[in-house]
Each structure stands twice: as structure tokens, then as C-alpha cells.
Amino acid sequence: MKRIRTLVTLAIIICLSIGTFYIYAAAEVKGYPKFYIKKEAGDDKEIRTLTLSAILSMGQFSEPVMISAEGSKYERELSFTEQLNSSFLVNDGLQVYRDKYHNFMRGKLMFL
């Protein structure tokens, strides 16, 4: 142990700080502002298929968020594979077509 002191110290510092940071980062996203659709009048059913693609921006930072009848969901809250597959900013229903038709919208850049 004594002969690999530099290595051990550095490794412990790295694991502790980076580990803590990612645990904290995951928790912090849950504290981002929440959005929801408030009913004033009318039929609940009409809103169920509605999804708003939005961007939360703070300073130079912006984060995609999707608002629907169930509340809001940030892109960061998705798992890594979900993030890759997501058509977060564009259209909620896109994935359905993609699953059905192998080449649907392949190679189309999907930006706002």
C-alpha cells in the first residue's frame, strides 16, 4: 500500500468526487421547475393526446422538456438509451412510426 500511495490517494479522490457528483446531478434534475396543464373548464379527454415540446432556459443553458397531461418530463430524466431514441423535441408519436416502419424519417435531421 505504501508503495502505491499516490495512486491510491488519487483513485479515492476521483471515485468519491465524481461518484458524489453524478448522484447529486441525478437528484438535482428532480428539482428542476415542474410544469403542468391546469384545467379551467372543458373536457379532460381532449388534452390527453396533447404534448407540448418546450425548452427551459436559464442563462446560456437550455434543457428540453415535454409537458403533457401527466406533467413535465426533462430530457435528462430519461435513461441513456431513451435519450438516444427520443424524438423529444419533435413529436411524441414519432417512435410509433419508427417501430412500425424501419426506415421512417431515417437520416432526417430533427431540430426545431
Partner: protein, 275 residues
């Protein structure tokens, strides 16, 4: 395995002086940046509001609220990161060449160690990776303190508090400390691949000297071509990929490039290396 750990430790220890100065430089410049930027904002607010009779609301409308991103995006903050990156990039070369050009050819002793020569290669590569991760850890450790200092210096009604994940979500910071754990792993795996490729290029040069330099350039070009092949295919519109397909493909190609680098190095170290 025991030798491997000792070698990594040895490589880290040899870099320690330079490493500590990089750490000191980062801490000094970044904290100075926080103080300078915060105070200049507060100073301007004071002079506009108390000397030129502007109202607070007017001032905020004209200048915007202060937020930590303005500091994190400034040269005070980014310069130490760029300097550290440059130094470590340079050290990727120096970690090999210093052994050749040191007094009494230290590489001779290293290569004579009763262990696989690939162990030396991996020890050097891991040392580089650990140095980089150590600096990232430093950044993560000092960031909360910088944020507190900023909040101490700028009054609450003139600043916009931004979550740490958002502060890190832009510019260079988003690359070196990505938002999710999985991205972090992928970024640094790619970094490790780059280190392996450069090491192999260095070994080419060390084995064949001037001819080797030419080979090294060819080898690097080939590695880059393999790694960015999907992007090229997409650019000339032969085949397009969905993002998830692209990432899986890149992971496989990255492993291929890394495997090739290690395999070639193994061959060179075993058969061709000259001291």
C-alpha cells in the same frame, strides 16, 4: 498485476510536481475569475444605481441578472482548463520520450523489467487517464465553493441562481463533465482510445525513427478514418443512422481501434523496439 500498480504509481509520482502546479493554477485563476467578474458586475451596478440614478429594475433590464455561467464561460475559468488539457496532451508524448532522452536511458531499465512490456504501455496509459480524471475531480470539488463565493459577492436580487447541472451544461464543461453518468463513461472511453492511438504512433516513431514518423501519420489517419467512417457514410448519403445505431456502431468501432492499437503496440514493443 502488482508490478502494474507500482508502475502506474511511479508514472503518477513522476508527474506530481507539474500536476500540483496545474492544480494550483486552476484554483488560483478560477477563484480570481469568480472574484473579478462578480465584483465588476456589482461595481457597475453600484455606479449605475447610486451615481447615475438608474433604478434597480432599469439596471437589470439593461444588463441582465448576474449568473454563474457568465463566469464559467469566461477566460478566467476556461483558460486553466485549456492549459491543463494542453499540458496533458503534451505529456502523452513526454511520458515516453522522457524515458529515451533521460540520463542513462531509463527506458532500457523499464523494458528489462521481468513483466510483459504491454504492462508498461497500460501503466502509462492508465496514468494519463487518472491524471485527467483527477483534474475533473478537482473541478467538481471546487465548483460548489466557487458558487458559494459568487453568492457571497453578488446580492441576491441581482443574481440568478442556476443549478450546478445547468452550469456544467454548456461549452467545454459539457464535454469534460457531461450531464449523465453514461455519457461520462463514453467520453472517457473515447479519450482512452485516443491515448492508445497516440501511444502506438509514438512507438512507431521510436521503432523506425524517420520512416516511423511517416508510418505513425498513416496509422493515425487510418484509425481516425475507421472511427469516423459512419459519419462519412452519412455525409455522402450512402447510409444514414438513427442516433442509437450510431452510438452502438461507434462503441464497436472504438473498441476495434483500441484493440488494433494495443495489438500493434504489443508487436512493436516485443519485436521492433530499439533503445
Amino acid at each position: 498485476m502488482n508490478r502494474y500498480w507500482k508502475l502506474v504509481n511511479f508514472e503518477l509520482y513522476r508527474f506530481l510536481k507539474l500536476y500540483v502546479s496545474l492544480i494550483a493554477l486552476t484554483i488560483i485563476l478560477q477563484f480570481t475569475g469568480v472574484v473579478v467578474k462578480s465584483l465588476s458586475y456589482v461595481h457597475q451596478a453600484n455606479s449605475d444605481i447610486y451615481e447615475h440614478g438608474m433604478s434597480r429594475a432599469q439596471f437589470i433590464e439593461q444588463n441582465g441578472l448576474a449568473n454563474f455561467m457568465q463566469i464559467a464561460g469566461s477566460l478566467w475559468f476556461l483558460a486553466p482548463i485549456m492549459i491543463s488539457a494542453t499540458v496533458i496532451l503534451g505529456y502523452i508524448f513526454l511520458i515516453w520520450y522522457r524515458d529515451w532522452f533521460a540520463k542513462n536511458r531509463f527506458i532500457y531499465r523499464l523494458l528489462m523489467l521481468p513483466t510483459s512490456r504491454l504492462t508498461i504501455y497500460f501503466a502509462k496509459a492508465s496514468a494519463i487517464l487518472l491524471m485527467v480524471l483527477g483534474l475533473i475531480a478537482l473541478e467538481i470539488i471546487i465548483l460548489p465553493f466557487q458558487l458559494s463565493l459568487f453568492q457571497l459577492l453578488v446580492p441576491a436580487d441581482l443574481r440568478q441562481d442556476i443549478p450546478i447541472t445547468a452550469v456544467l451544461g454548456f461549452q467545454v464543461l459539457a464535454i469534460i463533465i457531461p450531464g449523465t453518468w453514461m455519457q461520462f463513461v463514453l467520453h472517457y472511453l473515447a479519450g482512452f482510445m485516443l491515448v492508445c492511438v497516440l501511444f502506438t504512433a509514438i512507438l512507431f516513431e521510436r521503432c523506425y525513427r524517420w520512416k516511423g514518423l511517416f508510418l505513425a501519420v498513416l496509422y493515425c489517419a487510418a484509425s481516425v478514418m475507421v472511427f469516423i467512417a459512419p459519419a462519412i457514410l452519412a455525409a455522402i448519403r450512402i447510409i444514414d443512422f438513427y442516433p442509437n445505431e450510431l452510438v452502438s456502431l461507434e462503441i464497436v468501432l472504438g473498441l476495434v481501434v483500441m484493440g488494433a492499437a494495443v495489438w500493434i503496440s504489443q508487436f512493436l514493443l516485443k519485436n521492433k523496439i530499439t533503445v
